[in-house]
Amino acid sequence: MAIAKKVPEMLSKQISFCPGCGHGVVVRLLAECVEELKMEKNVIFNVGVGCYSLATPSIEADKFDTLHGRASAVATGFKRCNPDTLVISYQGDGDAYSIGVGESFSAAYRNENITVITVNNTNYGMTGGQMSATTMPGQKTTTSPHGRDCNTTGMPIKFPEMVAATFPNAAYVARGSVTTPKYVNQLKKYILNAFKAQLNNEGYSLIEVLSPCPTNWKMTPLQSLERINKELVDYYPLGEFKTRKEK
């Protein structure tokens, strides 16, 4: 039986992503969690540069488009000036882990009380599917047309694991996925945990989301979901790497 679920009021306008893209699910989950916590009039969506920049026009809440890679730094400024406001930094893997790795790492290092959502689709989606720091070994992209050679480009970065292992004070770190209803429900729990941690002043929280990019992967939406479920989760395991101390 189909369940009709109300679209969050914050997302009044339509968002246009490619068919099968995972961003729409993530944005919707974020909005649902904000509304469930009744924070829609006390939230700042701070957004980096990537396909997800297309989402900001439809988010009816305080929001700011930052420079590429700098979202965690800008979010720091927002949070320090608005300590009681829920500050969300929405970024992609290229944004957060390559050009913005310094800002991402340093926000975690300072244990800024913000929530960083990084959508990992293993490539630079908006610019046409170039290799990113999370591109898998052998994966073909427009800048690794023969498949990623990890001997010359390095191995894909596992940022959540690094944060969890490096910063003992970080409040909450997890990796989720949008590829099955079960995973979507699990991801929503992660997001709620992260938001609650932030609102309880517990410190830095980070959620990476494995998300399909059928357009650049040159796959159908279904094939893309299968790729994540069969291939990516082996290298990028799902789950909580750091749980809240207080609940």
């Binding site: 829609e40 700042i44 920049s53 900001t56 420079l67 400024g77 000036c81 608005n82 800002e103």
Partner: protein, 352 residues
Amino acid sequence: MEDMIKGNHAFAEAAIRAGATFYAGYPITPSSEIMEYLSVRLPEIGGVFIQAESEGASMNILTGASASGVRCFTASSSVGMTLKQEGISHMADSYLPFLAINVVRYGTGLGTLDTGQSDYLRDTRGGGSGDYRTFVLSPYSLQEAVELIDRGFELADKYGMGTILHTEAALGQMMEPCTFPEMKKVERRHGSIDGTYSFERISPLYRDRLKEAIDEKAKYDSIKENEQMWAEESLEDAEYVIVAYGLAGRSATGAVKQLRAEGHKVGLIRPITLWPFPEKAFAKVNKDVKGFISVEENATGQMVEDIALTLKKSDKSSKPVYMFVDAFGVPTMKKIKANFIRVKNGEIKEVY
């Protein structure tokens, strides 16, 4: 009389007195004493002090603070300011006010640790990508710096743009007495981001960029008309006019006074706003003036270009512009005077 105070400490205190409550920055010689001072002073007043991971990040942290409507500032030196340009350009595009103190150290790239005026062109032309300007204010004393820091914040708020306090290593490192105004309380700017979504936010994708560009041009024209600042000496009968800013301008002020006492008809224009350039000062110079001399603390001459451009659209477009450049230090009054005599005797060829 007040006590001796170090320039960098005076800049930091002046910003606090002007109501600034937020600083983000990265250490660099010769401006680090600003952040050292603030690491203690800002927490005292309940403000925010952040030692960022990089110059660039400090500017982006400031972006969040300024978008939140909080009076905020940063400081750096030359090559550090280069790294901030990304954020400066983005803040310009978002109409976010800020103050950045550039304690210039001479040189290209990494540069030197010595004093200088080698960032004139970069700072007055915007500096980052795009089609924008920032206010550029240059003090010649610590007292003037204290006043310009307050003025700089007010201008930034009024026009929704950045202000650079463009000073030099020698002023940041020197000491002299100065008086500070009472603490000012500044409210968060109307319409800023505070989480309540009380104001509509237009996504960059939906902004009318063409209309904004035309509005910017009108704004800059209005600033050029209304916000020029300078100091002057004896322009009515000057045969030659020396143009210099910052500590070079201070030394030139002394040199002009001495030359006048020795019977030379020499005048002075000391730009205080480097952008907008004080074109109106040049209109006050008598039409029989024989030439202008730019005195700068660099090797290639930078402000000299603005002097020539300013004269081009005035009734003095045919007047020669000379320059005396002295990298690595504040030009002494002795050298300024000697070079003036050389210009007067026809021993130096004009640049324009």
